[in-house]
């Protein structure tokens, strides 16, 4: 199996240029060479997250609206692993209009699947952050959606995502409660516009895309206004 170059860098010396680059960035002495098996050590996923993800995704996966990054903490391990893997395989982040996805895809290309899974599992173990403040600080785009109308529309979403937006791994549906609403809205729009979920290998994306096909833009804003009100617990 291909070993992630980040992981290799955390543990030993390397030859290729790209790898050299990362040695310099992370520090060749990050861990004593060959002192530990790459899989060992409680810091591994956290260190990988710190080195590769934290600048953009924020402390412990809390997300950063200014960098267009979603909340990752508290999403399920299975969902995170699948999304990271679909970026890695190019199911996600290939569509020319998926601007944030295009930025994300090269970030995971150097990773081994096992490392992505480990980072995903670690993020899943973290508490869902409480919303940091008002709309301006959480980056909600002020769409002025109507939550009452959204509540009715959400009944269809609840079948997979759960009544409280808690998500359902068996159905491949992520948690929605606690996600930044600007992000949920943007992704919903991407599914509606076929920017996400249209890659032939992206089966779960395809089913989401099919589910939202009949929504109008206003519906999306209303649904997200309702999701925003679901408590994080």
């Amino acid at each position: 199996m291909q070993r992630s170059f980040y992981r290799v860098l955390l543990t030993s010396g390397l030859t290729v240029v790209a790898a050299l680059a990362v040695v310099a960035v992370l520090g060749a002495g990050t861990r004593p060479a060959a002192a530990q098996a790459p899989e060992a050590g409680p810091f591994a996923p956290r260190a990988l997250y710190g080195a590769a993800c934290a600048s953009c995704h924020g402390t412990d996966g809390r997300g950063n609206p200014r960098i267009d990054t979603p909340v990752l903490a508290g999403l399920s391990a299975a969902y995170l692993e699948r999304q990271l893997d679909s970026f890695r395989r190019g199911y996600r982040g290939r569509h020319p209009e998926d601007l944030e996805g295009l930025e994300m895809r090269p970030m995971v290309e150097g990773f081994a699947a096992a490392d992505l899974a480990a980072v995903g599992a670690w993020l899943a173990s973290l508490p869902v952050p409480q919303p940091a403040g008002d709309a301006a600080t959480t980056g909600a785009e002020g769409q002025g959606g109507d939550p009452a109308r959204g509540r009715t529309l959400y009944a269809a979403c609840a079948v997979c995502h759960g009544r409280s937006g808690e998500g359902n791994d068996a159905l491949g549906a992520p948690r929605l409660a606690g996600q930044a609403s600007w992000y949920t809205l943007r992704q919903l729009r991407k599914f509606m516009d076929g920017i996400r979920g249209s890659h032939p290998d992206d089966t779960s994306g395809a089913s989401m895309r099919a589910s939202v096909a009949g929504l109008a833009p206003r519906d999306a804003a209303d649904i997200v206004a309702w999701i925003e009100m679901l408590p994080v617990n």
């Binding site: 680059a21 310099a24 960035v25 930025e103 290309e109 301006a136």
Partner: protein
């Protein structure tokens, strides 16, 4: 006049009462000392028995200058820097250096020679940036002249002159000649009566003749200022034919870059440190490097009653904490938003207000200084293409090889297009665009390396874009402390995109700390 005290007497009197600082301030106010000498230096009160511990986030120019001044005054500093290197955006690339751009890591492949470097961030210093120049003096960083404006360089626009470059001097001369002729011929008594008398009108005509190099009949028929088409040494010089003004207008050059050298911060002469802009960083590191912890990425900021607690991930991912009396935070405001923190909502809104610019620079190593064959020594060629400009190094003249800047996109549209490309795609774009200006470009240049600042790790955007509205509503909030936490950096100045702005923002915060300490000292 009797009874009136002379300036010298006044200064002596002030000195007796307030010491030399008061003399200095008074002399400046009287116009006896240049203001720049004052602006360049900060005099913090010595800490004495009230030494404080200050945690500085970020080892860029703002953080390093702040730490240097705090130390000089006798305070203790801890500088936490997320990157593997100090300097922040003051980044000079030489052989083997890593570009830590997210999704586009590169290693610089230039030959290992002192003149082969690329200032991928700051590159030029105006003479008016007194604090930065003060540090160059203080830290023994030798400077040399940087050529910004060069009339021999090219102006290119796909929409004008058949897409072929023309000399900057030709464009300037013909544009001014046309304007001068137009105006000189319309200087009429009735139009200007109210403002100019007959004598002034005559002098205005002479002014315009001189300005545009018009002939005695006030016609512009070309000028040697544009450079001769041929001759001029052993045979008479032959003037170039005059360009059609409408064609000059076709080129975008007049909109902005024609006037580049008129900007106070861009006017000749400018300066650069010998050997690379990061020589200034090296100088600071010699003084405060022992207090800098690299690969120390701040994750949490907690304001307290009497201090600030900062948690950070050390090089092995372990979390550590520092508690300090004050925190000076130079990390980009848009990244502070992603930290765990207890900053007040109003402050977080302000941190979220400014936009992230998308400056992109790219450089090649040239195996032949082909621009010198074209009589270009330093300066900038301008183009309407995404690369926007090509810079020729003012150092290493006639040395064979050189590093040429192959792209520097300022505006968001071209910057974003280049940012979204892979490094290899950027190189190809820069070659394809550059060869419209220098036909043999591809033969001479290679080993391209690029930096898209929008994607640079721990920076993610430069320069800070303050809209008028954001400036009005939020700048003052960020310029003031919240508790004992101060935002600093060029982002918290009216000079974003300049190292001088970074230093001045640090001074602004340090003066406030100085004031608080003095007041607390008096009260305690």
């Amino acid at each position: 006049m009797e009874g009136r005290i002379s300036r010298r007497q006044l200064l002596n009197a002030v000195g007796a009462a307030g010491g030399s600082a008061a003399v200095h301030a008074a002399a400046t106010a009287l116009g006896l000392l240049p203001a720049a000498a004052r602006a360049g230096q900060l005099d913090l009160r010595p800490a004495g028995g009230r030494a404080r511990h200050v945690v500085v986030i970020g080892a860029g120019i703002a953080g390093l200058a702040a730490a240097y001044e705090l130390r000089r005054a006798g305070h203790r500093c801890t500088i936490l820097e997320a990157s593997h290197r100090p300097g922040g955006r003051s980044l000079t690339l030489r052989r083997g250096d890593v570009v830590d751009e997210l999704g586009a890591r590169q290693v610089c492949d230039f030959d290992d020679q002192p003149h082969l470097y690329f200032n991928a961030g700051p590159a030029r210093i105006p003479g008016s940036h007194a604090s930065l120049l003060h540090y160059c003096r203080e830290l023994d960083v030798p400077l040399e002249v940087f050529v910004n404006d060069n009339r021999n360089a090219w102006v290119h626009d796909d929409a004008a002159f058949g897409g072929r470059p023309i000399r900057n001097r030709e464009y300037m001369t013909d544009a001014r000649g046309f304007l001068a002729e137009l105006l000189a011929k319309s200087v009429a008594p009735d139009a200007l009566d109210a403002r100019l008398d007959a004598d002034d009108r005559e002098r205005l005509r002479e002014f315009l003749r001189a300005y545009g190099d018009l002939d005695a009949s006030l016609a512009y028929s070309g000028s040697e200022r544009a450079g001769y088409a041929s001759g001029g040494m052993t045979s008479p010089g032959v003037k170039k034919p005059v360009r059609d003004f409408s064609e000059l207008l076709d080129a975008n050059f007049w909109r902005e870059y024609m006037h580049w050298g008129e900007l106070a911060d861009q006017a000749a002469p400018m300066l650069q440190p010998v050997g690379g802009m990061d020589r200034i960083v090296d100088g600071f590191m010699r003084r405060v490097g022992d207090a800098v912890e690299l690969r120390a990425a701040v994750r949490e900021i907690r304001l307290g009653e009497t201090g600030v607690e900062v948690a950070y991930a050390g090089a092995r991912g372990e979390v550590r904490a520092v508690r300090a009396d004050y925190c000076l935070n130079s990390m980009p405001a848009h990244l502070v938003v992603g930290l765990r923190h207890n900053l007040p909502p109003r402050y977080v809104r302000a941190l979220s207000a400014p936009g992230r610019g998308s400056l992109v620079k790219l450089a090649f190593q040239a195996q032949r200084r082909f621009w010198e064959d074209e009589q270009i020594y330093g300066g900038i060629s301008w183009t309407n293409q995404d690369i926007t400009q090509i810079w020729y190094p003012p150092h290493g003249i006639h040395s064979g090889t050189g590093v040429v800047l192959g792209a520097y996109a300022f505006d968001d549209e071209p910057g974003t297009r280049l940012t979204r490309m892979s490094p290899a795609e950027r190189i190809e774009a820069a070659l394809a665009q550059g060869e419209k200006i220098h036909p043999d470009y591809r033969r001479h240049v290679g080993r391209g390396v690029s930096v898209a600042w929008y994607r640079m790790n721990h920076v993610l955007g430069c320069s800070t874009r303050w809209s008028d509205e954001a400036m009005r509503d939020h700048f003052a909030t960020l310029q003031s402390p919240t508790g004992r936490h101060y935002m600093v950096g060029d982002q918290i100045s009216h000079h974003p995109g300049w190292q001088e702005g970074a230093i001045q923002s640090a001074y602004h915060a340090l003066r406030d700390i100085d004031r608080r300490e003095r007041e607390a000292g008096v009260a305690g």
